[in-house]
Symmetry: C2
Subunit: 217 residues, 2 copies
């Protein structure tokens, strides 16, 4: 039986890391030095492929990403990262960027889009925002995962009953819909309430919303 202790923060202490992805070696070392001086942990990568190859997704942080790179471009990395389950906020950096690219990047969820030469007064606030966003999204994802785990602990039949309960149907109605006795529905209902750790239909509805269960069904 899954005796899941609720809301255990996933390794909270892991300090955020700035992932610098840029094909220009001198820029990488310069920015790494700058960020180190600012008190950040830094990892540098010469290409998007390198980054994707070694990134595990469990490290909080953000990405400082050059738009123009041989091979996978910054935008490519962005969409690849977005497809993953643990996307990091991205701060783009470009030497000769154009507006359409910046628009596309922002629309795809970039935290910022900065131009070289990079000034500390611009970079550091952007990083702060990106890290804050990452922390917030990470927390949301953790919560969501925890809830989804509860929903996955339900048996198919319980899930079925759940959808009817969420529609506000009476046990009697659910019973006739599912061609079962009212007693059976009560049993499933009690089980699912226990598994989802809620006491009332009101709580149940909230949980279903948070976990995105209502929308998917």
């Amino acid at each position: 039986m899954s005796n899941c202790l609720s809301s255990q923060a996933t390794v909270t202490a892991a300090s955020p890391t700035i992932f610098v992805v840029d094909d220009d070696a001198s820029f990488r070392t310069a920015i790494a030095r700058l960020l180190h001086a600012g008190g950040y942990a830094v990892q540098t990568f010469a290409s998007a492929t390198d980054f994707l190859g070694s990134f595990r997704g469990d490290t909080p942080g953000c990405v400082l990403l050059d738009v123009h790179m041989p091979g996978l471009t910054g935008l490519d990395l962005q969409s690849a990262l977005a497809r993953g389950e643990n996307p990091l906020p991205i701060v783009f950096i470009t030497g000769q960027g154009d507006i359409p690219t910046s628009v596309q990047a922002m629309r795809a969820g970039a935290e910022d889009f900065l131009t070289k030469p990079l000034r500390k007064a611009v970079l550091f606030p952007a990083i702060t925002r990106a890290l804050a966003r990452d922390a917030q999204e990470r927390q949301q994802r953790a919560r969501r995962r925890e809830l989804r785990a509860r929903f996955e602990a339900l048996t198919p039949r319980e899930r079925e009953v759940l959808t009817h309960v969420l529609r506000g149907q009476l046990n009697k109605q659910i019973a006739s819909d599912l061609a079962a006795s009212e007693r059976t529905i009560k049993a499933h209902r009690a089980n699912l309430m226990a598994k989802l750790q809620v006491q009332s239909v009101a709580e149940l509805g909230q949980l279903a919303h948070e976990a995105g269960f209502a929308s998917q069904q």
Copy 2:
């Protein structure tokens, strides 16, 4: 008593209008001609102030907005419009725009940020997206307003009971919290369920979510 017929589409037939705001008269006429040819209704304005002065908010459509204008800039208009209750999607147009401006505009919710010279193949898709977004948001707002109206029909006491019901509390508990008899709570509860036109706590929760009632309380 408010015998509100639910979901009456607000003057659905009103065709969307493109509001062109640009200080360059020749550009205004050129773009107006282009849009007319595309089958759109167009209104032009020489300044952000002009637009804000005559815009009523009940017309669906979108704004084609120049960034650089004397007086209020495009970004100023954007934030003014966003503060209103019926914001229109904005497609920015700029002659000599810079990336920071485009980033700011996109972050503030602009639908797109285009550069002159304007190509039809770029402009028209942007307008289509903006109009689609407007239609969608307008529908959401209408639904939201309709629901909010229901909530405003509640008496203060009923609202108070509602918040407790949404927490999943029993009538008995609510009664003791509000220092009233259980019978009184039942009365308020029945009243508010009727006013909100819901049959079950499940529906009630959904409605409260949609109307943003749960979050504000």
